[in-house]
């Protein structure tokens, strides 16, 4: 589906915040779209991007330039059109009983968490945002409460985002529920922390995706419920359900 780009702003070194007129009606936080950045055969496949916002038919994604696909995307101007399919995948669904939501985002993983936060202004949430350096910390100001951790200490505390997470007393409170998105290593660590503290939650996973709608079988993950396709059965999986590969 052709979609017109409304804005595509360079928000931090290597990061862009894009809005486009969506051909779909809405998207839930946790869902993603598949973007075709060129009509050419190279690059060939669509790129998965989490929905970071949706309002009045306008969809937002936040992305990091890591390779040729995102490079091409970053060169687009307002008025240019891209080709978007979706939204695909399941969504974050913290139970209503969850009083205290911890949002743990690594790098660009903050995007779907931000959307959840903006869509649920009434719910109490604390964000833990991690990244390599200060420019990898995105949208911190869009969260009501946030703690930042960077590997080089250029913003917030120095180290992994799991350190401030472990230090917070919230992990030990009843009604605490965690939503996380980020690199595999971080998710695995967060998963362990949750299990250790008996905290429930959901993790949004990432894997190379050929199609995004369940037919290429390129994105499977082993879970306690068996082999799942990340694109249709996920990308959000419950804490404790993913069988992490070594």
């Amino acid at each position: 589906m052709k979609a017109e780009i409304i804005s595509n702003s360079h928000v931090a070194r290597g990061y862009f915040d894009m809005k486009f007129a969506a051909a779909f009606d809405g998207a839930e936080p946790g869902q993603f779209v598949m973007i075709r950045v060129t009509g050419s055969m190279d690059p060939l496949l669509r790129r998965p991007m989490s929905v970071a916002g949706f309002e009045n038919g306008i969809c937002r994604v936040i992305y990091k330039v890591v390779g040729r696909g995102t490079q091409l995307l970053s060169a687009k101007n307002p008025g240019d059109s891209i080709d978007v399919l979706g939204p695909f995948g399941n969504a974050f669904s913290p139970p209503d009983t969850a009083e205290n939501i911890l949002l743990v985002g690594g790098g660009i993983g903050i995007a779907p968490l931000l959307y959840w936060h903006l869509r649920n202004p009434g719910r109490k949430a604390t964000a833990f945002i991690g990244g390599a350096a200060s420019n990898d910390i995105l949208c911190a100001d869009e969260f009501k409460h946030s703690t930042i951790a960077t590997m080089d200490g250029s913003a917030g505390v120095r180290g992994l985002v799991t350190s401030p997470l472990l230090e917070t007393g919230l992990l030990r409170e009843k009604g605490t529920y965690l939503l996380a998105c980020g690199p595999k290593g971080m998710l695995k660590a967060v998963d362990g922390i949750c299990i250790q503290h008996g905290v429930s939650g959901e993790l949004s996973l990432e894997e190379r995706m050929g199609c995004g709608f369940g037919v290429c079988l390129g994105c499977v993950v082993d879970t306690s419920g068996g082999r799942k396709r990340m694109c249709v059965d996920g990308p959000v999986f419950g804490v404790g359900s993913v069988k992490w590969q070594t």
């Binding site: 075709r36 055969m41 190279d42 690059p43 060939l44 496949l45 669509r46 399919l85 894997e207 190379r208 050929g210 199609c211 995004g212 709608f213 369940g214 037919v215 290429c216 079988l217 390129g218 499977v220 993950v221 082999r227 590969q245």
Partner: protein
């Protein structure tokens, strides 16, 4: 309106556009993406007697104008296909080509018999690019004599049209096409994926866990067109052209060199409605070119 109907054995297709095995799931994933009755048929993900989990991750990666996959023939198994998928598929009115494989001759035969008996399966497509566990792992499709025997055994065991899908990883595809014809196969489909490999230079690891995988997509089209042309000139049974089709033009290339129908694979991922679009564009194109019957195009290559 031009007549786009083509016939493969006793299988009649409303048009020559088929979606390829492994790229169209069990069809059901596409019901909201196109009208399954508007495409010639679809081929299911390769089915085996037992459910299979396939290879470890990662098992796909992108390459210039193509992709490599090493899904490892993951599928729900013939039982689940029959019980859970087929009843739903039947409701769509789609023409179904059941792609299947085995690791032994008996598995091939048993799978073929099972699928042959199922209402709603209209033809069988035999994937012979699988390692033969009885023969020390060489592929079923890598020895013409063996391929002829397997084709003939399966042909005798079933009633529905039998399509045999050839591997391009051979020095010369023509003896394999002849083997299928001699074995009584009703049609040939070609090509499956080219054996390829890609390395992540940052980690110095293969991008595909199992090191090798199958290259598909527009990158392989010139090889596919060549092989389909070679097959079509070698045998009288229909040849179904597969490999890198992304546009009307690409599809016409295969028809012109002699393919009776085509399959679209990788591009289903990029544009899920592509098969229906191509069928419609073909119809419009025939109209414009004043072609009354698709058969006027098939094999119409001029080489003088």
């Amino acid at each position: 309106m031009a007549n786009l109907k083509v016939v493969i054995g006793t299988l009649e297709l409303v048009n020559p556009v088929i979606s390829a095995s492994g790229t169209f799931g069990y069809g059901l994933e596409f019901v909201d993406k196109l009208d399954l009755r508007r495409i010639g048929a679809f081929a299911t993900k390769g089915l085996s007697l037992n459910k299979r989990d396939g290879n470890p991750m990662p098992r796909i990666c992108e390459t210039p104008s193509g992709m490599i996959n090493s899904i490892g023939l993951e599928n729900v198994g013939i039982d689940v296909f029959e019980m859970e998928k087929l009843p739903e598929i039947r409701k769509t009115g789609a023409k179904v080509i059941a792609n299947f494989f085995g690791e032994t001759e008996d598995e091939y035969l048993e799978a073929a018999r099972r699928l042959d008996a199922m209402e709603g399966v209209h033809a069988l497509e035999m994937n012979v690019s699988c390692p033969n566990v009885e023969k020390g792992g060489i592929e079923f499709g890598s020895d013409p004599a063996f391929l002829e025997k397997l084709t003939s055994l399966v042909r005798k065991a079933i009633r529905k049209p039998l399509i045999v899908k050839l591997s391009p990883n051979v020095a010369d595809i023509r003896p394999f096409a002849r083997a299928v014809e001699n074995g009584g196969g009703d049609a040939i489909s070609a090509i499956n994926t080219l054996k390829g490999m890609s390395v992540d230079t940052a980690t110095r690891r293969p991008r595909i866990k199992r090191v090798f995988g199958g290259l598909s997509g527009p990158a392989i089209r010139p090889v596919a067109v060549r092989m389909v042309y070679e097959c079509a000139r070698t045998v009288k049974i229909p040849v179904i052209g597969i490999g890198g089709i992304a546009s009307l033009e690409d599809m016409l290339e295969f028809l012109i060199v002699g393919a009776v129908a085509v399959q679209v694979g990788t591009m289903n991922f990029v544009e899920p409605g592509i098969c229906q679009r191509l069928a419609e564009e073909l119809s419009v194109w025939c109209e414009k070119e004043r072609i009354a019957d698709i058969r006027e195009i098939i094999g119409s290559l001029k080489t003088d």
